[in-house]
């Protein structure tokens, strides 16, 4: 990717963070005609965008914050158009599919707990109905013929889907490059000040100036947000993924813990550990993931595992997104969330235009302000 000379460059928006949230937002800003610079860390950055599970997922989202369900469905519905736009620009197909997805249960107790979660979710005032239903073993088997006898049932949501997220990441970078967006790796932002109506971002390679700033640096938003009078309380979490060799297609629907990619590999994941170390791997966690996968789909028993990895989830303290604009530093925004793949369409097509206009649309994103973390200030 080209690194252009920055002398005397002035940008409309500096996007801090070159992961999926940052590049989706930057792409949307470029579509709005903004002159955008992306400030990224180097190759050794802790980057969820290279380790995620790649679901575009709806079911389960919104328990505890009903508007999050509607926000997620908005992105799920926008995803097809988003991927079409990317294909038009780059010729690359990110393999978005929305065949509906499953959450599978291996005991009556699990199924009962699952049904209770969905009931509590649907009973919230103002919740959007997203048509998730509980299915019996036989109903699941009609759609997933290879499930094992231990699968007692599960939940199905027709809005769930998945994508090739590494290709999505590459496609967005290719689109940005073609649009002439300036991408600056190894530009870790050390300080942000606002002087004479513009933001100055200090990096090891000099100062970048921009009229607006969008903080999209994942867990690092916790460090950056206070520099512009905002806050982003985070609690990073480690997940592990097991990947098999490429197999002939056998799984027509993604499962929340297991999916077959467009190129044939099966990804198995969804573990959660309190850790910020992306270099370690807890073997017992991988073993449990693999064991449950084989109970769900016994034909996986003789399949070779080719990779396992751990990655650090971007996670806000309550798990819901944070979108904010600064009162003390007008023009500074946070774009912060766990589900950077699912919400990519929203970030590109809804959040970016708001930032380009200079104000968040409260009717859409007011529930996601970090003010919710302060009981007195919320409301």
């Amino acid at each position: 990717m080209a690194i252009e000379s920055r002398a005397d460059d002035e940008f409309d928006v500096a996007v801090v963070g070159g992961g999926l949230v940052g590049v989706a937002t930057a792409w949307g800003l470029s579509r709005e005609g903004c002159r955008v610079v992306i400030l990224d860390e180097g190759d050794r950055a802790v980057r969820a965008s290279r380790g995620n599970f790649a679901l575009v997922w709806v079911q389960s989202k919104g328990l505890g914050l009903a508007p999050y369900a509607g926000w997620t469905i908005r992105s799920s519905n926008a995803w097809r158009g988003f991927s079409d736009l990317l294909k038009q620009e780059t010729g690359l197909d990110v393999s978005f599919q929305r065949p509906g997805g499953f959450h599978l249960c291996l005991s009556e107790k699990e199924l009962e707990a699952r049904a209770n979660v969905l009931k509590r979710l649907h009973n919230q005032p103002g919740i959007v109905d997203y048509k998730t239903e509980i299915l019996t073993h036989d109903q699941v088997k009609a759609m997933l013929p290879d499930i094992g006898p231990e699968v007692v049932g599960g939940s199905f949501c027709p809005l769930d889907g998945h994508v090739n997220s590494l290709r999505l990441f590459r496609t967005l970078h290719a689109a940005l490059n073609a649009r002439g967006v300036t991408y600056l790796p190894s530009h870790r932002v050390e300080a942000i000040t606002r002087e004479a109506g513009e933001f100055r971002l200090a990096t090891p390679h000099g100062e970048i100036r921009a009229a607006k700033v969008a903080l999209a640096a994942g867990n690092a938003n916790m460090r950056l947000a206070p520099m512009v009078g905002l806050e982003a309380p985070m609690r990073p979490e480690r997940g592990q993924i097991v990947v098999t060799e490429r197999l002939r297609p056998f799984l027509n629907h993604p499962v929340v813990t297991l999916r077959q990619t467009d190129e044939g590999t099966v990804m198995i994941g969804d573990s959660k550990e309190e850790s910020v170390d992306p270099s370690g791997l807890t073997i017992g966690v991988s073993a449990t993931e693999a064991e449950r996968a084989v109970r769900q789909f016994p034909l996986l028993a003789n399949v070779n595992v080719v990779r396992t990895w751990s990655a650090i989830r971007v996670m806000t303290q309550d798990g819901f997104p944070i979108y904010d604009e600064s009162q003390t530093h007008p023009g500074a925004f946070t774009v912060c969330c766990h589900s950077g793949v699912t919400l990519a369409a929203n970030h590109a097509l809804t959040i970016a235009p708001m930032i380009a206009r200079g104000a968040l649309d409260a009717s859409l994103v007011a529930p996601f302000s970090a003010r919710r973390f302060h009981v007195q200030a919320a409301g």
């Binding site: 290879d146 060799e245 002939r248 044939g264 789909f297 034909l299 996986l300 028993a301 003789n302």
Partner: protein
């Protein structure tokens, strides 16, 4: 394409896709395939391009074959045994086979 420098060692009988192939004790599966004139051992899972043993030292993973029913084994790291059943792999493996 390949010929042996010397026909040393006792003959070992294996099958490749059901057809008898004579190897030599000490051969790896990959070298036995090359010695028998089998010019590719698999096709790739994504594009279907043919692949043959290449590095012969466990690095390139191009010599993947099914050995005695276990898929995607590295042929260059497995010595032949009498009666071994080797199968070439076409594209993606079928799980549960």
């Amino acid at each position: 394409m390949f010929k042996r420098l010397a026909e040393k060692g006792p003959a070992i009988s294996i099958t490749v896709d059901g057809k008898p192939v004579t190897a030599r004790a000490g051969d790896t599966v990959a070298s036995a395939l090359l010695g028998a004139g089998i010019d590719h051992c698999r096709t790739t899972p994504v594009t279907g391009a043919p692949r043959a043993p290449y590095c012969l030292m466990g690095v390139c993973f191009d010599c993947l074959v099914t050995v005695d029913g276990v898929g995607s084994r590295q042929g260059c790291l497995i010595p032949v045994r009498e009666g071994m059943k080797v199968e070439t792999q076409l594209g993606r493996r079928e799980a549960g086979r």
